[in-house]
């Protein structure tokens, strides 16, 4: 018997690294791209936790174990499309193209991490839950109204899908045929609250039905499947077919943030089960079985991404500490007379 969690869920490469849908496997180049993206994301996540311990990054919400869900979706976009990540989705953002140095600065609390590189259509990590969903509708409509065939992809967690903004956005996008892809990463937990306590719904993708839009459910630890369904959704949106809700079924094997202790609210039995379904290991097993991967290639990849990461941290380290009077600088494009006065006072108080 299938467990309810696994009902109606598309898997292409299963947890053991076996292929269950050969008809849906992409070409070798795409497979390599998917694998590389997951490894790169994982490297970041692991190193980020270390940087935090060294006091070189602030509070950080790890995504380890969710690489397939994040990289597989983000790789379905082009740089003309919008990406709206939450705090959990550093993996999606860096896969899309947000520079690692900037991500380090962001989680280091530095204002240098805030402004996006010119032209990069990523919005800053959303921390208030669900607000990104209506924004995605607006981004998508703005693209269409300006005659461009670009889409907007927004992420949310299972817990976040309890907010009104989630439901309003789905309905709104459906009513206006907004070219959106809504990714709902069902990782089983909202801090200490399991998905089963957030909602009675088991299959969250079915909520789409209520809004008259397509909903698909995919094995969130199978990047091949995630990428497949996301590409379909992106193509549909681009072609004028409206929004799609994608539920990626995955698990938060890590703590909520680096300062959370999951031992307070869950046993790790289920975590161990999910570690067996690891997205990186399963694709590597599949690639190795097909003779598309080996230790030499793995070592070369590790060298590459390690070097890239270290160079990025060095770059982040070169940014100067911010000064107090800067705090008034970006309240408005043109400061009010009162703010100008506050700035002068801050300069006097802090001398910087």
């Amino acid at each position: 018997m299938t467990e309810p969690q696994e009902q109606d869920m598309l898997t292409i490469i299963d947890a053991s690294g076996g292929c269950v849908r050969p008809d849906l496997v992409p070409d070798e180049e795409t497979l390599a791209r998917l694998y590389r993206a997951m490894r790169r994301a994982r490297h970041f996540d692991e190193r980020a936790v270390v940087l935090h311990r060294q006091g070189r990054m602030g509070v950080y919400p790890p995504f380890g174990g969710m690489e397939a869900s994040q990289a597989g979706t983000a790789l379905a976009l082009t740089h003309d499309d919008w990406l709206l990540p939450t705090y959990r989705d550093t993996g999606a953002a860096l896969t899309y193209g947000l520079p690692i140095s900037q991500i380090v600065l962001y989680w280091r609390t530095s204002p240098h991490g805030w402004a996006m590189p010119e032209g990069l259509k990523v919005l800053p990590f959303y921390i208030p839950i669900a607000t990104q969903y209506p924004h995605a509708v607006g981004c998508a409509l703005a693209e269409r109204m300006q005659g461009r065939r670009n889409v907007a992809m927004a992420y949310i967690g299972d817990g976040g899908s309890s907010e009104g903004d989630f439901h309003e956005a789905l309905n709104f996008a459906g009513a206006l045929d907004a070219p959106c892809v809504f990714v709902l990463q069902n990782n089983g937990w909202a801090i200490s609250v399991p998905t089963t306590a957030q909602t009675r719904a088991v299959n969250l993708s079915r909520r789409a039905e209520g809004y008259g839009i397509p909903g698909v459910r995919v094995d969130g630890n199978d990047i091949v499947a995630v990428h497949h369904v996301t590409r379909e959704a992106v193509e549909r949106a681009r072609a004028g077919g409206g929004p799609t809700l994608i539920e990626t079924v995955t698990y938060r094997v890590k703590p909520h943030t680096v300062s959370d202790d999951p031992g307070r609210y869950r046993t790790e039995d289920l975590t161990r089960e999910w570690l067996e379904k690891d997205p990186v290991t399963r694709l590597r097993t599949y690639l190795t079985t097909r003779g598309l991967w080996d230790d030499a290639r793995e070592d070369a990849l590790t060298r590459d991404i390690t070097q890239e990461f270290e160079a990025a941290v060095e770059e982040a380290d070169r940014f100067s500490e911010p000064t107090p009077s800067e705090i008034v600088d970006h309240v408005f494009a043109t400061p009010t007379p009162q703010l100008t006065e506050q700035r002068a006072q801050l300069l006097e108080e802090y001398g910087a």
């Binding site: 208030p128 309240v331 703010l339």
Partner: protein, 329 residues
């Protein structure tokens, strides 16, 4: 002889008030995000789920409008809900229920029924939580007729004001401060009721009016001022609605100088209301206009040093007091 000193934290004092409320009144229920198993984002409700069960301590979906809306309904139907909003910033998501519903129910039912709802939340800087998790938004509630507004600074007040809130027939917005949860002192057996301001330090030279975490910064500043021969009279408002300015006016008559210190932003903030009222009530005795020291009119930065620069510090309070006295800092 052993005397227990500094035995209770602000967090424990709040929890004990909730526990007492749950014990003495079967209508009290707690609901909010993470209040059950996790024990609240800041640990205030820790242990209450085990003691009182899932019918009285409810982990809700992440849905601030839904939580406050359900609490308003439950209050109208006879319960006394205590909502925990993780961050006061998220009150923005529930503002319709707070402002248009909870606050207006008694009036719009012609006095027949009210909404005995306690909305516990926390605000302020001090944990590098960023622009959307560090605000001091009490002016929003102060500006809304029908809401009581309690802003405890001390362990004893955290406890007794929360107990008082649990007896109120009308909605109380109870704003804790995230930087105070681990502060410790003895838990006093009694405290004045809401609507009574309290002098926390006596002095003849300058009146300092404040509340919540800024009380502690004002007391630190007062100590530094004393070393320079300036004695500050420090008054803790404790509740902003009801508001008791009598001790402030009495003090202003003696000092002639009033410094108002708040963490919320300056423009349109609580300090503006206080300055206006102090001016109206004590104009004849004032040597100088009331001076305000408040949060800068900026989104709170997340970098710790910048965050600190966006709100009054003991040093800036000290300097402001000296300026008000016409002395060089």
């Amino acid at each position: 002889m052993t005397t227990a000193v500094d035995t209770t934290t602000y967090r424990d004092a709040l929890r004990e008030a909730l526990r007492e409320g749950l014990r003495r009144d079967p209508h009290v229920v707690i609901l909010g995000e993470e209040v059950g198993r996790y024990g609240g984002a800041y640990g205030v409700t820790s242990g209450l789920l085990d003691e009182f069960g899932e019918d009285r301590v409810l982990d809700t979906p992440i849905s601030e409008a839904g939580i406050v809306g359900a609490a308003v309904g439950a209050a109208l139907a006879g319960l006394r809900p205590v909502v925990e909003l993780m961050y006061v910033d998220f009150a923005a998501l529930a503002m319709d229920q707070i402002v248009n519903q909870a606050a207006k129910a008694r009036s719009m039912f012609g006095g027949q029924t009210g909404v005995p709802l306690v909305l516990r939340t926390q605000g302020g800087t001090g944990r590098s939580a960023g622009a959307q998790h560090s605000q001091s938004l009490e002016a929003w509630f102060l500006h809304t007729p029908g809401l009581r507004l309690y802003v405890p600074a001390t362990v004893t007040d955290a406890h007794h004001l929360l107990l008082a809130a649990l007896r109120e027939p009308d909605p109380v917005v109870f704003v804790e401060h995230k930087a105070l949860y681990t502060t410790r002192s003895d838990l006093g057996a009694h405290a004045p009721p809401p609507g009574v301001s309290v002098r926390r330090r006596e002095g003849r030279d300058v009146t300092v009016v404040t509340y919540s975490r800024m009380l502690h910064r004002c007391l630190d500043a007062a100590q530094a001022l004393a070393a320079r021969g300036v004695e500050a009279d420090v008054i803790d408002l404790r509740t902003l609605c009801p508001l008791d300015l009598e001790p402030v006016v009495a003090s202003a008559r003696r000092t002639g100088r009033v410094l108002i210190v708040t963490e919320d932003t300056l423009t349109g903030g609580v300090s503006a209301e206080l300055a206006a009222r102090v001016t109206e009530l004590a104009f004849d005795w004032l040597e100088e206009p009331p001076m305000r020291l408040a949060g800068e009119d900026v989104p709170i930065p997340v970098a710790p040093a910048l965050e600190e620069a966006s709100v009054p510090t003991p040093l800036r309070i000290e300097r402001a007091a000296l300026r008000l006295l016409g002395r060089r800092a």
